[in-house]
Amino acid sequence: MHETGVRRFMRKESDGRPRILLVDDDPDLLEMFREILAQLPSRPHVHTATSGARALALLEAGGFRVLICDLMMPKMDGLQILSIVRRKYPELRTVVLTSVVDGEFRSRGYALGVDLFCQKPASEEEIRLFLECLESLLGRETQGGFRGVQSKSLLDIIQLECQSQSSLVLRITNGKLTGKIWIHEGEIVDAETEGQRGEAAFQQILSWRAGHFETLPDEPSRPRAITKPYNGLLLESAQALDESRAEPEVQGPAEPTGSAPAGVLEIEGIEFVLALKQGEASPLVARGLEDPKGMQTWARLSMSGFRSLGERLRAGPLEQIEALGPQRHVALANQGELELCVGLKPLMGAGQVRDVMKKVLELWAC
């Protein structure tokens, strides 16, 4: 049976010990860290590579749980490696271990989706902390979940906060979408996301399967828009999630006979929608265009060209392109495996184009 990429990727060695790949151009340092990492309670297999090319070749063989990477290396630097790894192995946990203290590189590391950005430990205490963080990372599940708490679902996180009678605001980010849930003294008071409020917004946020969250200080003055007790609300959400998971996934046909999610074409200002799947010649969805071929070619060329440019610049993943013209505007963005190309009326400003694309991506994500 052909092994899927993710399964191959997650495969452990037969003894159940996780595998770590450590990349640094300094062989002495690699040897030292190999010994340090051997002290971890999970007793991982530590593999080393002195160059990016060697590291990528080892990753190709599969089976690694965590990649620990230096930033400053000749030929292929750490940001380049992380950029490739993020695209090819999204399930791999990544750690930057560097002596660079510049905030810009820390930001860029996080923009590339690293799980941990650490300075090379210089004392025993720092080594202990680093090992603790790494052990925690090795223990995490990889199937979705919200980073920040050990891969708990959002339902679990809210339930925990409510049960502990917390007062706080949860800010949840799922790609381009953001939402907030207000919890006061263990009760869900309000929720808000992309034009929705109250219970509808709460259910919408709960439908996101992965993302990031952060806790903000309590806002006791927030008016109560949700009156149901949290238990009932969470139960309803769990049922809705179960039902949505039970529905068979609709696979798009090769011809452009697929349809955009309900409501997308009704969004004010949209002229056409084109959904392209990588590697497939025909668009999955083409609505509002008489002859989509020219637009399709342009969209693919723009996305692939700027994606590879981003990799060369180490600027992180390409998020969106807005092309503004006198006849029409076009916005391009990724939505999972799809590339979306949305045509918009030319009277809109760049900010309005961004707002519309947010709505489109939100509808598509659901």
Binding site: D25, L309, Q320, I321, G325
Partner: protein, 107 residues
């Protein structure tokens, strides 16, 4: 000790994100730039080529364009069409504040 320094290999440098602007002519020649000179010229030219290509292919697809905004996770490129050439702005995004505000990954 000074002699030893002669044999020490130079430390590799990380590429900083470009900041500033440049103009490119219709033939792809970079005419003027405020982007730091430490940022490789070849990369500036590569940005210019890609921007011009997207403008040109847009016109070919019946999509004449005046402006392009390209958003990366840590960089924004804005390009204005200028009679076959372009004026390109490069602005690194400051995601430091966002990262600092987030709950740390380590429990």
């Amino acid at each position: 000790m000074g002699v030893l320094k002669l044999f020490r290999k130079p430390a590799p440098k990380l590429l900083r994100l470009p900041s500033g602007c440049f103009t490119v002519g219709c033939h792809g020649t970079v005419l003027s730039r405020t982007v730091a000179s430490s940022f490789p010229r070849t990369l500036v030219e590569e940005i210019a080529r890609q921007v011009l290509r997207v403008f040109r292919e847009g016109a070919r697809a019946q999509l004449p364009l005046a402006e392009l905004n390209i958003h990366y996770a840590s960089l924004k490129i804005t390009a204005h069409a200028l009679r076959g050439g372009a004026l390109v702005f490069l602005a690194p995004k400051d995601s430091g504040a966002k990262c600092a505000a987030s709950r740390p990954v380590c429990p």
